[in-house]
């Protein structure tokens, strides 16, 4: 649980150092769209085509070696593969035992390959996503979202959520620390005490929202956080997107 806080902290830290995801992805808008295309192309690979999936690892590998920034963070995050994915992959391993190929005496079953494909897809798609998002400062992601016509309500919500998650996480950690200091083993950590701890945190949060509203109202807030209208998707963006689509298509066709 402490890793969560530190990962928010380090996600933010990465954001300050890297100004741009990668010069090869163009603007923030095209970077996000190219990432989406990448993930779509990757996930459309058939369930037995392991080389095809691994070839797509080229994209995150390229981005991380260009930017050098988030590689450590991305790797750290990737090591915690969702247990759900692992269960499903091992399900395939157990259920599909038909032998499909033999490499220097080792027989591979269909399940081994499709299971490996699930794990590889999971790692590569997440690496692709993180190596882009961890490099773009959050306010710029929000502006890109505006360009995609995401409703204003949601963009505002995202900005506030992002701003206050570290503040409230610190408060939550402190409260949990206060509880643990007086708990001695497990006795104080039962659910009833936790409910009142979470309840207290909730009341603090609501009070904070009230002060926040006052601060916003004092500065002319009328319901919109972003008054500046984000730039549109430009012809340059489309060019970048088209170029990368071609690359992804080529990868799909070759493997």
């Amino acid at each position: 649980m402490q890793s969560r806080v530190s990962s928010i902290g380090s996600a933010l830290a990465g954001q300050e150092t890297a100004a741009q995801a990668s010069p090869f992805l163009g603007s923030d808008r095209s970077a996000l769209l190219v990432t989406a295309l990448f993930i779509l192309s990757l996930l459309s690979i058939s369930k037995f085509n392991l080389p095809g999936v691994i070839a797509f690892g080229a994209f995150p590998l390229f981005l991380m070696s260009v930017a050098k920034g988030p590689a450590g963070m991305v790797t750290k995050r990737l090591l915690q593969i969702s247990p759900f994915v692992l269960v499903m992959a091992s399900g395939n391993l157990l259920l599909d035992r038909s032998p499909v190929m033999q490499i220097s005496g080792v027989t591979l079953s269909g399940g081994m390959i499709s299971g490996a494909v699930i794990v590889a897809k999971s790692i590569i798609s997440l690496a692709g996503l993180l190596s882009v998002t961890l490099c773009i400062p959050f306010y710029r992601i929000c502006r890109a979202l505006e360009a995609f016509h995401v409703p204003e309500v949601l963009v505002t919500q995202l900005m506030l959520l992002y701003r206050y998650s570290s503040v409230l996480q610190e408060e939550a950690l402190s409260m949990q620390k206060a509880r643990d200091l007086r708990s001695f083993g497990r006795r104080g950590r039962e659910f009833s005490n936790t409910a009142s701890l979470v309840g207290s945190l909730l009341l603090r949060t609501v009070n904070r929202a009230e002060r926040l509203y006052r601060a916003m109202a004092a500065r002319g807030f009328h319901g919109q956080m972003s008054t500046r209208h984000g730039e549109k998707i430009s012809p340059g963006d489309w060019k970048t997107i088209a170029l990368w689509s071609l690359l992804f298509l080529a990868l799909r066709l070759i493997f």
Binding site: M1, T35, L43, I45, S46, K47, N49, L50, P51, G52, I54, G57, A58, F59, F62, M64, S65, V66, F84, V85, G91, N92, S98, M101, S104, G110, S114, S125, L126, L129, P151, E152, L154, T156, Q157, M159, L160, L161, Y164, S165, V167, L168, Q169, A172, L173, Q176, R189, F191, A195, V198, G199, S200, L201, L202, T205, V206, L212, Y213, I254, F255
Partner: protein, 337 residues
Amino acid sequence: MHMADALLSPVTGGAFWIASGALIGYSAKKITEEHDVMKTPLMGVLGAFVFAAQMINFSIPGTGSSGHLGGGLLLTVLLGPYRAFITLASVLIIQCLFFADGGLLALGCNIFNLAFFPAFIAYPFIYRIIAGNAPTPGKLAAGSMMAATAGLLMGAFFVVFETLVSGITELPFSTFVLFMLPVHLAIGIIEGLVTWGVLAFVARTDPALLVPAKSSVRPRFTFALFAVLALLVGSVVSWFASSQPDGLEWSIKKVTGSAEFSPAGNPVHEALAAFQQKMAFLPDYGFKSAPESLANPESPVNAGTSLSGIVGTLSVLAVAGTAGLLLGRKRNEPKHL
């Protein structure tokens, strides 16, 4: 439980993106119409609160393990369905973008599974009916437990559905359901207990917070219709897609009109093949290493292509990595001057 990219086909994922996107658009419209600007910061910090509350863990009686709050039902009780839906969606988006919980394609599914059910089904049709406006402690307990559990079970059922429809797992439906539902029943009961505990705490210390805002208490009939429509889009399109697990191949087939896409008549492929002939490590792409006899004729896996594929793959990775390093260094140089 978060749905994951790797278990989804593009069509299924896309269908749920559309369904969740429509729900977000509709909720945003409803919220904008309310003109209650005071709730904007409240939604923001409550979203952060869900994140923070998830870090507080507690021991689950009799198991020795620990759990934490999900928050879907709790937020809906405090904010009403539309605002809670947007808030929960924002939590899931941040989790997706910065922690890669689930993944980008799975985001639509996750919003649907984890935000739609508590906000638009469990709250109005279970919690509100049991607990009413001024709940007694007993009703509060029953309402939170039932609604939280039901919401989670519905979400879990949809995880099963989305996965099977994508055709990537080999698990049969019954096994999968038997695996998912008990796990989520347990998670749901814990979620219900904590939600109840927190609501009871708030009822004792600041009861005014639990009085629902009149206008957003309950989605109206048009909304119910809309929700059913979203469900239909999500499930029907995915179901339809289930016969075509491989989305791109499927669409290419539609375009080219042939099941196998034959190299002949496809200029792009021909050109690429020729290019590859010249450049690739293994000129003979169909290099055969495994005995023919072993290869299952039914199997979609071609041993030869796979092996040469692996070598080719490794070279692609090497090229990409080296190019990145070179380009990265070149780009950094001017800065050092």
